[in-house]
Symmetry: D4
Subunit: 253 residues, 8 copies
């Protein structure tokens, strides 16, 4: 099944006799995925959701990551792997030489030659990624690299926490002109509410595990963002820059 066959196509084939009943049952069953035993690579996903499966490296061996990335890269123009350490990258590069490692974002990106990203013109819609502090940048980069890999133009403004609001105000134009805004913040995560109150654009809040003591590894920021008094703000998991970047691109595209 090449993924484009519709249910009616198959049934018409049966009616016309081109496809036997047995074949039809098999076709309906055999969705396009590859089975590696330890992983079932969901090649169908790009047909279904518009983007191939993304590899979360955490909990997988470097060899498993490399093999999965290789298989995905063989069929997709862009492949992403997140929470990747350097060991995983080394393993990937051995089998997919054009893989690129984004150090701060801890991501591996593979692009087929024909999918080279075009330079976005200055007037393309953009996603603005905002971080409250310097320590939140790795998560912010995960969001930015993800959205860029998917094809969005991304602008970045880092370290504009609410303890110095003028730094934020100074970026008011960038906020106003963005199509979607991602706010990345640890500690008390107040930046999401402040940005949410200033703009009319959708805001995706990403709590980070930055902080100590009663931040409880990001719980404080997460609860803060979920309880925001600003409208137009949603949240993703703690440190889930990828999820925010992916969602932002869905809106922005």
């Amino acid at each position: 099944m090449n993924g484009n066959d519709s249910l009616s196509d198959i049934l018409n084939g049966v009616r016309s006799g081109k496809i036997s009943v047995r074949e039809a049952v098999a076709k309906l069953r055999s969705m396009p995925y590859e089975d590696l035993g330890y992983a079932k690579i969901d090649h169908h996903r790009s047909l279904r959701t518009g983007f191939p499966e993304v590899v979360l490296c955490q909990g997988k061996s470097s060899d498993q990551v490399a093999e999965i990335v290789k298989r995905l890269a063989a069929r997709n123009p862009v492949v992403l792997a997140t929470k990747a350490d350097e060991g995983a990258y080394e393993a990937v590069r051995r089998v997919v030489p054009n893989a690129v490692y984004h150090n701060e974002a801890r991501m591996i990106v593979v692009r087929s030659p024909e999918s080279a990203p075009q330079d976005k013109t200055e007037d393309a819609n953009y996603i603005l990624v905002v971080s409250a502090g310097t320590a939140d940048i790795p998560v912010a980069e995960e969001a930015a690299v993800t959205a860029e890999a998917m094809g969005s133009r991304v602008e970045r403004v880092y370290d504009i926490g609410v303890a110095g609001l003028h730094r934020l105000m100074d970026q008011k134009d960038k906020l106003d002109n963005a199509n979607v805004i991602i706010v990345v913040a640890g500690m008390e995560g107040a930046l999401a509410s402040v940005v949410g109150g200033l703009v009319s654009k959708p805001v995706i809040a990403v709590p980070t595990s930055i902080g100590y003591g009663a931040s409880f590894d990001g719980l404080a920021a997460l609860l803060s963002m979920l309880n925001t008094c600003a409208e137009g703000v949603v949240a993703v998991n703690i440190d889930n820059g990828f999820g925010a970047g992916y969602f932002a691109h869905l809106i922005n595209k």
Copy 2:
């Protein structure tokens, strides 16, 4: 300041002598809000974010709600109040006779005559609101009524929990054609992940407090949605149908 004055307009006025320095300082200061003492009604918000302040009734007296709604209704084409009990509605109706109460959603909506919602054509982009169970409907309705009041076309599909996936599959067309999907679910909240894996559209997950025991008043569903293995899913606070409807409209408009 009428909200359209830019900073440059005021400064040009100062330069040309049309506006005195004293006036300019006042203009820059006097943002348009009304002060009731117990509330500062943010009339500026609709200029800033595209929609007027929404009244969360919880924790306010019925009289406070009524007064705030009245003031907002005097200046805005549409006013929303959420988590409103019947007492609050009675108080509002006394001062704003055309207020409408959405019983299941527990919302008050006020529309000025000229803002009567036009019937959406069949081919308008729509937001799909999906609930996992019958008991989740009040939160789903809060989302739906909010988005409709803001001007979006909304479709509803209720009671399609994951324990009977075929009910969900049967709605595959509605899912595929939606512009944004809101998934409302209590208990284990798995529906968000399942829907997220089926579609290429942004999914906004709303955990509800439906459940008992280790649901801990919606915590189980919330954590489930934050940890979704599906891409393109974000979350709002437990029972926050309003937040999801508002955000969905921002994307859909």
Copy 3:
């Protein structure tokens, strides 16, 4: 689609021309559920899982419960509704006169005349429901009534907490001869571990919200049961007698 049609039946019908392609698509789509708007009654479930959908009354209006039970009762030999208060039962009885209310278990059971439960012979396999205290009995009864309604023989032994182990030991024969054991306990929930260590049969532990202070509404018992040092013990949600009774019947049948 009557639920018995297999995929091959439909495809064979297409091939032989008895079923048009259009009809086949419809058949494949139209799974057997009834749509009440606020509920999609999953009549297909009894075909799929061997037992019809069970109605959780919590969060539904009495009228909704009554309507759903009526629809289910029209097609199924046995219908169960859990966490039902007397109001829900009154509403059900008006439309399904032969509905029976189990007061302690807070359950409604409807049986068609032809499905009258046969008296189980003394040597039928039985499920043993054990409660640690008197206050745990409502949850224990929910488990027992569920399993009986599904067709299992059930024996009950109540109030044999670990602070008086001889009461438990005295029931050793009943424990040894059971096919499955359900242990219902609040407070520290230790009974599950003690029973689990004594028998070779599967033990299903049900924590209850009985207790005060640091029982945190059943959390202490739940954690205790999940961390049991005994083998052959699994757990369900706090106060979920229904879930334990259902699962026990799956094993016992």
Copy 4:
């Protein structure tokens, strides 16, 4: 012992023979408190900490509250009782007719005639009490009434949440001129951080239990305030307006 006797005074009295050893032992022991059996009224506290014991009504019967307030009022110029419902106030008024009930703050205040509060001049140092929302006002009033009863000038600014920052900015002068600022906020509690970043004055943050879902009865606001990225911000217990008002007065006096 009148509370002013120093240790040396007593010992000198012993040396000079004015006080017998037995008397000295008794004096050293008998600190000034009154024993009602169910309460030991700490009359010594005003000597020790500058203000008499404050009565937390929660968990005490109305009669107990009334008796304790009566005893304190007999010896102190000002007496406060917090978390007082109307029943407690009725009981107090029967025995202390000049007791005043602050309805919104749920406080009882008793002043002796000679301690009538003087009108504060416009240039007295003041404590600014700021609330994020209308629903936070009861806690804010508890703080304000407490500080006023202790002798501080208090200014109030209510409903200036971060979703409409201009309302806050409009109060910049009041913020800058305050001697201490109390920020009362529920939901995500971000106002504390925003105010803390704007001013050079000490900020006391009071989380409130206003909110729903993942606010967990004020936990979200509390964690947010404890993890603030602003400097010069401390926190008190959820809904503890009294504690903030008391502390603010210690700084302001």
Copy 5:
């Protein structure tokens, strides 16, 4: 006492004079366990529960593990040790040369020559072990190895998370034909509910600690599984593959 003596046997021996009262008391007391000081090896357990004590290596020194395994292996046809690192295995192998280490499952299995597992015929009842992701495989393997060591036939299907439901649907036959199903999933653990809704067989859900942020080391998956809206699903502790495998075998045998 050889474990087969019943209470009546002993008492009959006393009556007939074959056993002295003193001996009888001793017999009744001396249950068959071996005391190593730091461990009391419960040889009686296989008589009581049908399977010997299983060694949880966590928190024990390698030497302690080795000694306990050696003693158990001397009396039992099969011995299992869980959560075993390689150091523990090395220590065991020195004293029990035929011990086998299952690397992914982190288990040690010892079989006596006569207990060599027979190849299961194709039509034997089987337990199906399903994992949501690749990273969940170690816990899934712990379940599978346990059940196999106890004598069950086990089938494995790994990496069929709900974000790509077709991978699950493709395994529908395997699901339908299984006698018991173990679902192993981290993150939001939704797979348990989805599988539970599809089948009529008992489902044992195993939450894993795979995930990050608000997964809180498996808490999200655990709560999700406990609150499942599917019937016929029970849960075990986070990462407790052993417990699930053991319980599944009790049902399957």
Copy 6:
């Protein structure tokens, strides 16, 4: 079995032929408890632990409480029921007229005429029950009434919280002369540590649910007491005055 028969007695009876094997098995089995169906009254407990079963009224119907108390009172000199509301007491008094209700402690005490408590002489060892506040007294009384019913002399000192240490110091003699000390405190529970640091006697700490906000219904006091820096301090459950009184009597007797 009258509870005094030892295992040897029974076996000797078997040997001598006075007791048949069948009778012996029955005797060994039939431990002295009464089975009411919903409760198995453990008459054996007073033989085993020195005091009869104590009835926790919470979660039991008034009729159940009354019946259980009646049965216990028929065989024991003293019977206690805890967490009893007035309804339970009324039900008990109808069947056990000499039952006494301790209103503040919410306990029912039944004494047989012959067990009338003797007045303790002044020099009997005593248990000192200390409460931090007035609102903690009900829990303190539960502890005191329990220990008195069991036969201990009890002294009470209430409302000596750490915010007025001199009230505590003034009771130094009572502290020093006590045999055991029970400290009952809510809020931050610091009194347990302070008392623990002053004395050489065992201290039993009882956290109460008195407090608000971040006291989380007694969690703050409980954690405080468990983490005490003082030596010689143990804790019981939140609001468990009974448990502390019972334990104190075990030490004091």
Copy 7:
């Protein structure tokens, strides 16, 4: 002040002129502690509580531990240090050569030559330390070594968890004859309830951090022990063997 001076002694000295007022003030002030800057060694504690200050090594440098132990050893017959790693012991041994390290208990014990412990006769009252598993032994040893160092006779019974109750029953005599029982258990901690139900002696429960997943580092065992349905059971902090041993000795002495 030698610690034996009573308040009256000092005052009599003042009266008689033997002690000047200045000296008396100093005497009353100068309680016997040594100030090392980073530590104030409380030599007074042994006078006050019957045993010298015990050193918790966690969070102190090895040098700090060594210095504090040296100072305490100079004035006390027995000194204890807990949670001590080998580095701390090496540092101590350099300055206190007769210090002994209890490896499993992670404790340092110093005895002066004259305080050599006498062999306890067989009929001395003893404390029984019971552990549920092998992995709980380090905490159990901390309890045992503490009580022995303080002068109590201690008996140990390890690895008698509730999954093999006969191992516990076999120790019934030891349980019945003990004066106090310490139960050390991780995982679900059920052993405390089981032992508590069998005996009439005070039981001190020590939860341990042994377990995984939902044991949450000992929380499950702690909650279990606090919610015990057995009477006569109290708890200490997770892993606090020292606290249990200390308290047990207070009762046993």
Copy 8:
């Protein structure tokens, strides 16, 4: 903009023609911060809050810390960096040679030559920093070093936990004469309440993560301090010595 320009100054400049409209817009925008890309250094903060931005090193690379400190040191008389390890200090020293590392406090302090701290006279107002234990000293030092760097006189009293109250009482004069008191305590954190009850000065409580088991990394101490029964006590985050020192200086200055 030099930070001293008021809004009126700029507007007057515009009116008089000294400043062009374009320049004015720029001036109003360009708040004084330096943008390093990964950090926006808030030079404006010292104008706004009276003290420059403080660098939290956690989560920043050593190079980032060094660069930020260098930039701040170029414009401010005093610069602080907290939670700094030695690596960060080495990096800073390479670019700011006069940086000083406070080892115990884990802080870097940079002073310009002209800001050398003057020796405080004996009669200057002082902040008293009190620690409960030796292990709390690093957090206490963070508070003390911060306040000293800001210009306050600080006195220290360490290791005066509530288990030896006389050590605290002995410091009564120091407590009474302080202007503000910082109480640093882990474990149960009771010292804050005890100190708060003794004095009339504001008390800032700092919970530390010192403790084990149910201290839950400082949660027990934090909750204890938030629920204090003493008046005049506020709290900061766990281990946040810096926050306490900063706040204390705001009061003390």
